[in-house]
């Protein structure tokens, strides 16, 4: 059976760390970083990259359009 793997690319300098993507993610991939970006925000990143299914939910709710989503079928 085909398996899907996804990944997100967060433009961490533009992320405002609102965390809306975290609640939108069905597979708990995203967390806010302990570090801050140039603007002082704890930016979003993939804490559990293996769990990403490339569903685009996070990108869809991102107010600043800083998330790009990729997906492959294995």
């Amino acid at each position: 059976m085909a398996k899907v793997r996804g990944a997100i690319d967060v433009d961490k300098e533009l992320c405002k760390g609102c965390g809306v993507c975290i609640t939108a993610c069905p597979t708990h991939v995203i967390e806010l970083a302990k570090q801050v970006n140039g603007k002082g925000y704890n930016y979003a990143y993939m804490e559990n990259p293996e769990a990403c299914i490339g569903c685009t939910n996070c990108a869809m709710v991102c107010p600043d359009s800083v998330i790009t989503v990729y997906k492959i079928t294995i």
Partner: protein, 269 residues
């Protein structure tokens, strides 16, 4: 099976979702988690999907989204407070083959601009109205809006909105839905992926209705203002679901299902 590395996935050919080209590279001035960003994005995506960039004219309001013209790569007019529907009326009548939309907040549309929105809708102007209702004045620092809920504390209703002092919250969308000139009225939100999909579909329908010349399309987006509400973005979404949706229930308020100018004329008569 060899382990797949992230860099193998993040490749141009595997792209499934990215920022639409209709959005500029300007960094939005909105606060973290602000609904405006999502709404801007879906309006931009609709313009891209319909291929109408060259024919679209946006009218921005006074309020937080006054600077919407910095973010969508289309021609824009920036209106005086509340007057966006008047600008859109003239623009659409003078350029009838263009797609004209207003983007207005609750203070702009439901308070100072009540006359303009009601009359533009009542004339059935063939425009699309995007009404962002977060029940507060964001730009000026969190004052009471016409749509502020009962009991809700703001900078100018610090002890909570009470009817005797402030009057009742205004369900302007329900008023608009009564008007014969209006073809489509819906209330949406953008706090979850499912909600974003539905809101985008509604906005798309609003723009497509301009082709049919069947009257005004009015799309309210119940939104958050985490700075004004003094909550985190995630908590704001939760508060909106618990409180705002009770008073401003989501869904279509009117879908006249008129499919052509002829049907519209028949309906009016």
């Amino acid at each position: 099976m060899a382990a797949i590395e992230i860099k193998d996935i993040i490749k141009k050919e595997n792209l499934v979702y990215g920022k639409t080209k209709i959005l500029t590279d300007n960094i939005m001035h909105y606060c973290p988690g602000c609904s405006h960003g999502v709404i801007h994005k879906i309006v931009a995506e609709v313009i891209e999907e319909l291929g109408i960039q060259e024919k679209t004219i946006g009218v921005s309001p006074v309020g937080c989204s006054v600077l919407a013209y910095n973010y969508l790569d289309i021609d824009w007019q920036q209106a005086a407070h509340g007057r966006a529907p008047a600008l859109a009326t003239a623009t659409k009548r003078l350029l009838p083959d263009h797609y004209v939309f207003t983007y207005q907040g609750d203070g702009d549309l439901a308070s100072i601009g009540t006359a303009e929105i009601l009359h533009a809708c009542n004339r059935g102007e063939n425009i699309t109205v995007i009404f962002v209702n977060n029940a507060i004045y964001g730009m000026t620092g969190g004052q009471m809006a016409p749509t502020t809920l009962m009991g809700m504390a703001t900078a100018t209703s610090p002890y909570g909105r009470e009817a005797a002092l402030h009057g009742y919250p205004l369900k302007i969308t329900e008023l608009i839905a009564q008007l014969p000139g209006v073809a489509y009225v819906t209330r949406q939100s953008v706090q979850t992926p499912a909600a974003v999909r539905k809101a985008k579909k509604a906005i798309k329908k609003g723009f497509e209705n301009q082709d049919k010349k069947i009257g005004t399309s009015f799309i309210e987006i119940v939104s958050t203002c985490s700075s004004g509400w003094k909550l985190s973005p995630v908590d704001s979404n939760r508060w909106m679901e618990e409180h705002m949706f009770k008073f401003y229930p989501l869904g279509d308020l009117k879908d006249s299902e008129r499919n052509s100018e002829e049907e519209y004329k028949k309906y009016i008569e």
